[in-house]
């Protein structure tokens, strides 16, 4: 069944640029599909041929180890060819514009581009210029959709649901694409989101995205099911967002004293890489009973396999995203999967 095509469970988008705008059903399709890959990835033989013959290009304009590796593994386990294009070796350094790069790559007929870029909106701009599917691997502080999906998958597998949960996202919200994607996803799926950070790291009018804002860790964490810590980027120290690491950890670092305010079985999440002793105490991070940080990494590969599969599946439908009216649910039952 894990090798099944998605003829009847259709994800009606050509690209995955962000979580914003996805329906609960669409998110569920992605999560359900990811679920099957979790099992596949735990087997000795992890590789299938679903994407055999396809070309996936990892186009990273920003440093990344985890996300790039995760996409690389996902693509290879589905049997596709994969090329990593790192910024340092690309012609971007020679002055080529983002759009020129996109056009050049497009001419090589890739099937999927996985793009990370330091500027918000850059991935969308690129997606408008190519014929293949584009997956946003993180654009500036804007979105990181596969991270939110893997977080959701981790939560769903642990707690059986997303709806009705109380989730605290703590740390540098202002600069975090992980936070933005998670806010969209959790809200869409019916969870309640709290943001906890010093005021300098909370974006303006973020309440209008449907979240509650706290500046006190103990109060914000109270009764939460999930405590999601964000990485604090050291370069934030220079822009007067914060006075010092010492002060940040004292007030906003997750330790057992602060965690005691959450539900007794609250899960701890972190998108990685962690700064131990900055946003999270080492003991808490390594608490096997509560920290699901390793599990998040595992879910990452499964989620990316599902996204790659569902988007390439759409390519077969004529290189066009199916218009909503033409969604194929009419005469085919949604839940059943058929073999290709």
């Amino acid at each position: 069944m894990t090798q099944g095509g998605m003829d009847n469970v259709h994800f009606p988008h050509r690209h995955l640029l962000g979580i914003e705008g996805l329906s609960p059903e669409e998110i569920s399709i992605l999560l359900d599909r990811s679920e099957s890959y979790v099992e596949q990835n735990r087997r000795a033989d992890k590789t299938t041929r679903i994407l055999h013959g396809r070309t996936v290009i990892n186009l990273f304009f920003e440093e990344s180890t985890r996300t790039r590796t995760s996409f690389e593994l996902a693509a290879k386990r589905l049997g596709s060819d994969l090329i990593n294009m790192a910024v340092a070796t690309s012609s971007v350094k020679k002055g080529e514009t983002l759009i020129d790069t996109a056009m050049t790559l497009n001419a090589m007929h890739p099937d999927v581009l996985v793009v990370r870029h330091p500027d918000s909106g850059a991935v969308q701009l690129l997606s408008e210029k190519v014929n293949c599917a584009v997956i946003n691997g993180g654009d500036g502080s804007h979105e990181h959709p596969t991270q939110a999906l893997l977080d959701a998958l981790t939560i769903r597998r642990r707690l059986g649901r997303l709806s009705g949960l109380l989730v605290a996202i703590c740390g540098d919200i202002l600069h975090s694409r992980v936070a933005r994607s998670n806010i969209h996803l959790l809200n869409t799926m019916g969870a309640r989101v709290r943001l906890i950070a010093p005021k300098t790291l909370i974006p303006f009018e973020v309440e209008r995205m449907g979240v509650e804002v706290f500046h006190d860790m103990a109060a914000g964490i109270k009764d939460c099911d999930i405590v999601m810590m964000l990485r604090l980027q050291q370069e934030r120290m220079t822009g007067n967002f914060l006075p010092s690491i010492r002060e940040y950890f004292h007030f906003f670092g997750l330790d057992y004293a602060k965690l005691a305010n959450a539900k007794p079985d609250a899960l701890i999440m972190h998108p990685g890489p962690m700064n131990r002793g900055v946003e999270i105490d080492t003991e808490v991070a390594d608490d096997v009973g509560r920290s699901v940080i390793r599990e998040q990494v595992e879910m990452g590969v499964a989620v990316r396999m599902a996204v790659l599969e569902l988007l390439t599946d759409n390519l077969d439908r004529g290189r066009m995203p199916a218009p909503k009216a033409a969604a194929p649910a009419k005469n085919k039952p949604k839940k059943k999967r058929s073999r290709r």
Partner: protein, 438 residues
């Protein structure tokens, strides 16, 4: 433990006093009963030396009694802005002026931008056993106006609010982030309202006097521009902003309008700005070189009006001790600042004697109002609170003689001024710590 402390044991009753408590608007003949270091009871029922019968209201049998002879007994003064200089000299000057609590600027050596310094200052002040010293923390590291200091940790260590002292936080982005970050913890930022690029090399208020003396002037706009900028940043961030030592009509009007709009802001002034004007500079008198500078007469009147209508929330001494070497210089080179602890009460009482404010109103501006702004448990009569009191005669006349003022520095801008209002006794934690020499 200080030797003075031993005297505080037991009960002491101050009776036959005109009891003044600005916070509760109490003005009546009465008394205060002190048990150890705290106020045990106070009120009109203690006016006379009358020992309590069984369960009656009066003095316990073992009380020592001090007859106040009808003079004014009020909460000790709270000075929300002073530079510490020599700590021993500062606390002696303070109690001679009836000041029992004061908040020192962070421009100490070393700067109060680290938790250890907060604790050090508080501990050294406690050892003196005189006026209590609460520190401001620095807004920026080293008062350099660039990187935020550890406001949260400093507050936990005891910093009551944050300021860069005699320097404005000049960079708008730094001030924006400072207000925003401080509001995370509900902390107050106190700004020295002067746009430094407009005050550059300025020695006194810009105007005719400066022109005649050929001194570089600081326009009043330097104040109002900074205030209006910061009011907008306070509105943007929801941060708690306090503007220190207002000196100009325009600045006061900006604060008045901001308060009308409902912005949560406050401000203070200092005695020189309602008691003196730029004419005090006279013939290059460096004791009258202050920062902000003494302004024109219209500005002085506006300060009085600001105090009268409640726009200005408090009066601070702005005590800035300077040694002779830094004042005995050509005016442009002399250091700005004047001492103010000794004369805070007497000069503030001019507002009462001149009919601008009632006696309780004047006292409120130097007791419960500043204490309230900074969240200090001081400046009001309250059972169980530390017995910090001042006994004074509001009418006794004397002449300020800088050389005879208690303390070390002599740079009073009020030197030679006849004033009314004399401190007769200052009590800290139940101990009389100051009485004027006959």
């Amino acid at each position: 433990m200080s030797p003075r402390k031993e005297k505080s044991a037991g009960r002491t009753a101050y009776v036959n006093a005109r009891l003044l408590d600005p916070a509760s608007r109490l003005d009546a003949m009465g008394g205060v009963l002190i048990d150890g270091e705290a106020i045990a009871d106070f009120g009109p029922h203690l006016a006379k030396e009358r020992v309590a019968k069984k369960r009656g209201r009066g003095l316990p049998k073992d009380s020592r009694v001090v007859d106040c002879r009808g003079k004014c007994l009020a909460p000790g003064l709270v000075d929300m802005r002073m530079e510490i200089g020599d700590l021993g000299a500062a606390v002696r000057a303070a109690v001679s002026g009836g000041v029992t609590s004061m908040v020192c600027l962070p421009n100490t050596q070393p700067v109060i931008d680290d938790m250890s310094v907060v604790e050090f200052v508080a501990r050294r002040a406690r050892k003196q056993g005189l006026a209590k010293v609460y520190p401001y923390g620095a807004v920026t590291k080293g008062l350099k106006g660039q990187e935020l200091a550890e406001l949260g940790l400093l507050a936990e260590a005891g910093a009551v609010a944050f300021t860069d002292g005699t320097r404005a936080v000049a960079d708008a982005q730094v001030m924006w982030r400072a207000l925003s970050y401080a509001s995370t913890f509900g902390l107050m930022i106190v700004q020295h309202p002067e746009e430094p690029s407009l005050a550059h090399q300025g020695a006194m208020n810009a105007g005719e006097t400066a022109t005649r003396l050929a001194l570089v002037g600081i326009p009043t706009e330097a104040e109002v521009i900074m205030i209006e900028r910061d009011l907008r940043l306070a509105a943007l961030t929801g941060g708690r902003l306090h503007i220190a030592h207002l000196s100009t009509a325009a600045g006061i009007e900006a604060m008045r309008q901001a308060k009308k709009r409902g912005l949560n802001v406050s401000c203070d002034t200092a005695p020189p700005y309602f008691a003196l004007n730029e004419n005090a500079v006279g013939d290059y008198r460096t004791f009258a070189k202050l920062s902000p500078p003494l302004r024109a007469e219209d500005d002085r009147k506006a300060v009085v009006e600001g105090l009268r209508d409640g726009t200005i929330d408090a009066i601070a001494s702005d005590h800035t001790p300077r040694d002779e070497e830094s004042k005995r210089l050509p005016f442009a080179q002399a250091a700005p600042g004047g001492i103010g602890l000794n004369t805070l009460l007497a000069v503030s009482l001019e507002l009462y004697h001149n009919g601008h404010l009632g006696l309780l109103d004047v006292l409120r501006l130097v007791t419960s109002a500043p204490a309230g702004l900074l969240g200090l448990r001081a400046g009001r009569l309250e059972k169980g609170a530390p017995a910090d009191l001042v006994l004074f005669d509001p009418d006794a006349a004397w002449k300020v003689d800088a050389d005879r003022l208690i303390g070390k520095a002599k740079n009073s801008p009020f030197d030679g001024r006849p004033v009314q209002g004399r401190v007769l006794m200052t009590v800290v934690d139940g101990r009389p710590v100051y009485r004027p020499q006959a």
